[in-house]
């Protein structure tokens, strides 16, 4: 029974067999963190916020965001088509049902309302860096299936957990500084933004490293199967 369950799980694990899942996620997280810093230079910190310059800055940011998304989506697709599929085969996944998407949205809504409810109830007494810790732990939980599939990835998982906890015990002034440097830090509490930025940056770099190692190991270990196998 367990063997059959394992077989059912294998195609899902296969998505990250070449490290593309981690590379995409890492690029997205580091990109998001960098994006928050970019805002401080291009939009909120500048004195042109109330002029056409703000609009132009917004367009530039939107273009950078679009480019980042394309790099994540098309980049991983291209590598899969040129490296992974010729070596270990092609897989087309089943489309996610609308009902499942709705449940994801519902969970995200409940989490957001709970966080903001907690913030409103506890006000100044709540250490807002804890929200960053929660984000880091959520990312570590999301990583669990990948850690289960390959033994050495438990080390990566341990790093993700340590990073999340680390942000919680960092000096408040340091987290505040990270938040104030990010554009959103001018609108939202600096400590919360700082904790988010630090967690995203740390996890992003760890995932990029882990993805790169996985990719190198994949290329080194798999030998191309001949097309005549078809």
């Amino acid at each position: 029974m367990d063997a059959i369950r394992g077989l059912l799980q294998r195609p899902i694990d296969y998505y990250n067999v070449d490290g593309m899942g981690e590379l995409a996620e890492g690029l997205l997280l580091t990109g998001l963190a960098a994006f928050m810093w970019l805002q401080s230079f291009m939009w909120l910190q500048s004195h042109v916020m109330q002029s056409w310059g703000a609009f132009a800055g917004f367009i530039v940011l939107a273009c950078i965001w679009k480019l980042l998304m394309r790099a994540v989506r098309d980049g991983s697709k291209a590598i899969k088509a040129r490296v992974t599929y010729p070596q270990t085969g092609f897989v087309q996944y089943r489309a996610v049902k609308k009902s499942r998407w709705l449940s994801y949205v519902l969970i995200a809504l409940i989490c957001s309302i709970t966080c903001f409810g907690g913030f409103a109830a506890m006000g100044r007494h709540l250490n807002l860096a804890l929200l960053g810790v929660l984000l880091g732990l959520a990312l570590a939980i999301e990583y669990l299936p990948k850690a289960r599939s390959v033994g050495w990835k438990w080390v990566v998982w341990a790093f993700l957990v340590a990073g999340a906890i680390g942000v919680g015990i960092l000096p408040g002034a340091f987290v505040d500084a990270a938040g104030l440097n990010a554009g959103m830090g001018k609108l939202l509490p600096a400590r919360m933004v700082g904790a988010f930025v630090l967690v995203m940056l740390f996890d992003g770099v760890i995932l990029l490293l882990s993805g790169a190692i996985t990719f190198v190991l994949f290329v080194a270990r798999t030998s191309a199967l001949k097309p005549e196998a078809q």
Binding site: M1, Q9, R10, P11, Y14, G89, F90, L225, A229, Q230
Partner: protein
């Protein structure tokens, strides 16, 4: 036959063979996959894999689609509706059998203790 063993007699023998079970279980989780992927995951050689695929196709559980990826031929395989139902049925039968045998074993143990 003992009632708890009835379930196992009804098991689908086309799917029950280990090689074919691997193929069906791997394809159950996806929309479609190619021959190379199944070869990589199952570790079967080309001849064995082709033979199992032919049997599953003959049973109506598998759809085979021959295409090209660039200039390279590609064989895409997917489970048909009947194939999905057969695997679900197989899975339920197996679970039922395991549950029955476990409860029968527990009963036997209790009787022995008494």
């Amino acid at each position: 036959m003992k009632p708890e063993l009835n379930a196992i007699a009804e098991i689908d023998r086309v799917i029950h063979e280990p090689g074919r079970l691997m193929i069906v279980a791997l394809l159950f989780a996806v929309e479609k996959a190619d021959f190379v992927y199944l070869q990589y995951e199952t570790g079967l050689n080309k001849g064995n894999l082709s033979s199992h695929i032919a049997k599953l196709e003959a049973a109506g559980y598998l759809a085979v689609e021959k295409t090209f990826r660039g200039k390279v031929p590609q064989t895409l395989l997917s489970l048909t509706g009947a194939g999905r139902e057969a695997f679900m049925g197989y899975w339920h039968t197996l679970k039922e059998f395991c549950a029955n045998t476990a409860s029968a074993a527990a009963l036997k143990k209790e009787v022995t203790i008494l």
